[in-house]
């Protein structure tokens, strides 16, 4: 070895873990954003998450029923080793981090010293900076299971408390943070009240139905709700989830198998009912958005429903066009997780779903299958305008966001 040897510099972050600052975690994404010049693009992340249960005593203090609110308070102050009050779900079956391999999915224990705003605002800002996005739509996480809650009234109590807490305590911290109000969909009258109550609340850009539930979306009791949402001009989003206790998914022994199917399956069922019962014909101005199921299910369902519909038109008499046409013209989709091992299939999918106008970028940060904006930016078959549309302009049109970014 000669005298020209220079010392290599030790990287300040040797191993990323649950205490790593989000800015360090996403440093490579930030570098990519700067290289690609995202500062000149509008980028809207239509699906990111925070862990609302970290703030659960705060959230449950917004429960309006005084008895239930007090029960939550006592539970949190006295009960040892219990999950958050009132939440149903899969308790210890959350294997998303693959046994510690993907630490950001487990927790974000990073230091936050800024006390001017809620901790979730700080974490969200860090993620927005890392991903290079201008707007981030914030969804809850464990509450995605609420549609399976045995007490329908608890879905009402908790979703209302969460919506109020989020819009009063968190969203005002940053104009780039927006949300879709969580609807207690198992109680249509209460869901309707929620739509009316939050229609003009700052930061609310639409309505969210958590998709893991067994109520059919075409039930007559939802028609007032759909009419009211249509009148607001804001979209209704079906946010997918999994439900391992579903009898067919219970045959899957791996999180990999169950999660791959579960996140698509719930939206496959709802979309089938949505289309075959002619909801787009009944409410032509109601925009539906299908979130976090990926995209590969859409061409499958289009072909499948078209094929069967032609043989059994009398069972879907409201339809005036092929099911696939409603799915491409009336429905919007988020791209995450972007399945792209076969680029030809992806190109065909983009074509079938009218991606240039109906596809929206979503990161799903901080979950294990999150996507950076590069999943769209790097697609070889898209021109620049299509990329700009998918990364932000389509969302700006759908949600009425400022095309120059938040003020």
């Amino acid at each position: 070895m000669d005298a020209l040897i220079r010392p290599a510099i030790e990287h300040p972050v040797q191993e990323i873990n649950t205490t790593t600052d989000t800015r360090d975690y996403l440093a490579k994404s930030r570098q990519d954003a700067e290289r690609k010049g995202y500062a000149d693009w509008l980028i809207v992340d239509v699906d990111a998450h925070h862990v609302e249960t970290v703030s659960w005593p705060e959230v449950t203090s917004f429960i309006e029923d005084p008895v239930v609110r007090d029960q939550a308070k006592m539970y949190h102050s006295e009960r040892v080793g219990a999950p958050p009050y009132g939440l149903n779900g899969d308790l210890g079956l959350r294997y998303q981090d693959v046994g510690g391999r993907i630490p950001h999915q487990s927790s974000q224990r990073e230091k936050v010293t800024d006390t001017d705003v809620h901790r979730d605002v700080v974490l969200t800002r860090r993620a927005m900076h890392g991903l290079g996005v201008d707007y981030m739509v914030i969804f809850p996480t464990p509450m995605l299971f609420l549609g399976m809650h045995p007490q329908t009234e608890m879905e009402v109590f908790l979703s209302r408390a969460y919506n109020r807490w989020l819009t009063e305590k968190v969203l005002p911290g940053d104009p780039g943070m927006v949300t879709l109000v969580v609807l207690p969909f198992n109680t249509p009258v209460e869901a309707l009240k929620m739509v009316e109550e939050f229609a003009d609340t700052p930061g609310v850009i639409g309505y969210c139905v958590t998709s893991t539930r067994y109520k059919p979306v075409h039930a007559n009791e939802y028609m007032n709700l759909y009419r009211a949402i249509e009148e607001t001009g804001k979209p209704i989003a079906f946010h997918a989830g999994y439900h391992w206790q579903d009898p067919s998914l219970a045959t899957c022994n791996t999180f990999l198998g169950m999660h791959s199917l579960g996140f698509a399956w719930c939206n496959i069922v709802h979309m089938t009912n949505w289309i075959l019962n002619g909801i787009p014909e009944r409410f032509p101005n109601l925009k539906s958005l299908w979130v976090e199921s990926g995209l590969s299910w859409v061409p499958f369902l289009m072909q499948r429903l078209d094929d069967q519909y032609l043989m059994r038109q009398s069972e879907a008499p409201l339809l005036k066009r092929m099911p696939s046409e409603y799915m491409s013209d009336n429905c919007f989709y988020t791209c995450q997780p972007m399945e792209k091992s076969n680029m030809k299939a992806l190109e065909c999918t983009f074509d079938m779903i009218n991606a240039k106008s109906n596809l929206l970028y979503a990161s799903d940060w901080p979950h294990f299958d999150f996507d950076t904006p590069s999943v769209i930016y790097d697609i070889p078959f898209l021109d620049e305008q299509a990329k700009r549309n998918i990364l932000g302009l389509n969302a700006a049109s759908l949600f009425g966001l400022n095309k120059n970014g938040p003020k």
């Binding site: 010392p7 873990n17 993907i102 999943v375």
Partner: protein, 125 residues
């Protein structure tokens, strides 16, 4: 080609790593037994910080002669670095994904001379 000193051999425990920066490049240097390996800190999946992930032994399915499964076990002779962004794993020796070898890490030349470990980076001169 330029040479960079990444430290003494004794600074590396078996199955450990050090991530270093050299100009605008980041490289992970790994020790397995007496051997050293080095890979660029860019994941082929979505460009994540692969070398800043955790190290795990390869997982195998424990199948018997009758093809019945008895759960999963570690193969401690095969050691992977796991990308912290989405969990793709790569064999530290070969740089290949265990399920799809066509997905692999970008190698950097590493040399041991005396008691120290060096990286040889192309295009730096």
């Amino acid at each position: 080609m330029e040479t960079f000193n990444v430290g003494k051999i004794e600074e590396f425990e078996d199955k450990s790593k050090k991530v270093v920066t050299i100009g605008d490049e980041e490289v992970g240097v790994f020790r397995l037994g007496k051997e050293f390996f080095a890979w660029r800190n860019i994941c082929p999946h979505q460009g994540g910080p692969i070398c800043q992930g955790r190290i795990f032994s390869l997982v195998l399915e424990n199948i018997d002669d009758k093809m019945e499964s008895h759960g999963r076990i570690y193969d401690n002779n095969k050691v992977n670095i796991v990308c912290p962004w989405h969990g793709l794993e790569f064999d530290i020796r070969t740089g290949e994904h265990p399920g799809n070898p066509s997905i692999s890490l970008d190698p950097v030349s590493v040399q041991v001379d005396g008691d120290a470990v060096y990286l040889l980076i192309e295009g730096k001169n």
